[in-house]
Chain length 203, copies 2
């Protein structure tokens, strides 16, 4: 397409570099910004640049943080003996929003994926060892139920199984509210294999 | 949602201000930028800020332009007697890409829409009068086939019908390649009313 203005063409090119945004959507977004007060685009540009320049990572769990040690790692009430292994910040936010976990986290920063060229060395795996040497007694895998998630969990298990720690994984099964007849057979199969003792409070 | 970092929270807030992008997509885009080399986000931020600061409008047709008079208005070969009225830059690009029009354009910058609070005064309608006083002999409406598009065309027609100029509108009808049985009845009805002389070159 031939844009009538170079600044417009450049903006469309840069916006359409984002995943899931094509040239037409990018042009629509650029025209939207041009119809708004100038400061909307200025603030958006500033926020994107500050994001990549000012972002910091917690030295303990490798999650994003504004301080050297993040708010979660700094909480003294949290149980240091539990270490929940997750892929990225979204998983930490999802688990925190349940209010059911009071241990610590370790953010891998991805999962092992030969297809995308991500090997164990690109992930924050070595710091798990330091934590096992201190006081971690249980490693909890909270990774995606995909080939890559399973591979990552298996790699970490193999590497650290000689440490004196338990390994566990979040339960796979039927979601609360799901009808059995519509559940996929793998999830249903796993939920029968990994059945749990019934007690009144669980239903 | 509780973001672990203020720069991340700010970026998500600004990105999700764009139309059609919610908080979850905004977070996904922010994490994508953090995984790329730093300059991707820096360049994107620069392009957005330059867009709103450096953009210029052609003095003749009000389209975006890098110069005082845009490339289309500057072409001497173009027919000054034809003036095609469009809503925005996308329409100019769409018509130019057909290669079937050699007249000039006038970009209104929107259409009359009481629902969105856009009245005739916010559009570039007054400059049509100056062009009619010069040498424009035909006004061609190329506006959306919607209530707002029709209202805008009618307003302009009423305002300038006493000038010695023809008024026309792009043809509405059945798209090339469409099956009659699946066409909507309004388009089909208009295409019968506005039937055109048959000649061998048109099919």
């Amino acid at each position: 397409m031939d844009y009538p203005s170079k600044v417009l063409a450049k903006a469309v090119e840069e916006i359409s570099g984002l995943p899931g945004i094509g040239k037409k959507s990018a042009l629509r977004l650029a025209l939207h910004l041009l119809k708004q007060p100038e400061n909307i685009a200025i603030d958006l540009g500033d926020a994107l640049q500050k994001l990549v320049i000012d972002i910091q990572y917690c030295k303990e769990c490798h999650n994003f943080s504004d301080t050297e040690i993040c708010d979660i790692c700094a909480q003294e009430k949290r149980n240091d003996a539990l270490l929940c292994i997750v892929e990225d910040v979204r998983d930490v936010m999802a688990i925190e929003s349940t209010g059911k976990y009071r241990g610590k986290y370790l953010v891998l920063g991805g999962k092992i994926s030969p297809m995308e060229g991500v090997g164990p060395n690109q992930l924050n795996i070595t710091s798990i060892e330091k934590k096992l040497e201190k006081n971690v007694q249980e490693i909890i895998f909270a990774l995606s139920a995909t080939m890559e998630g399973d591979t990552t969990a298996y790699y970490i298990y193999k590497k650290f199984k000689n440490f004196n720690a338990k390994f566990s994984s979040i339960a796979r099964g039927i979601s609360v509210g799901d009808e059995l007849e519509y559940a996929d057979e793998i999830s249903l199969g796993r939920s029968i294999q990994n059945r749990i003792p019934y007690d009144e409070s669980s239903s």
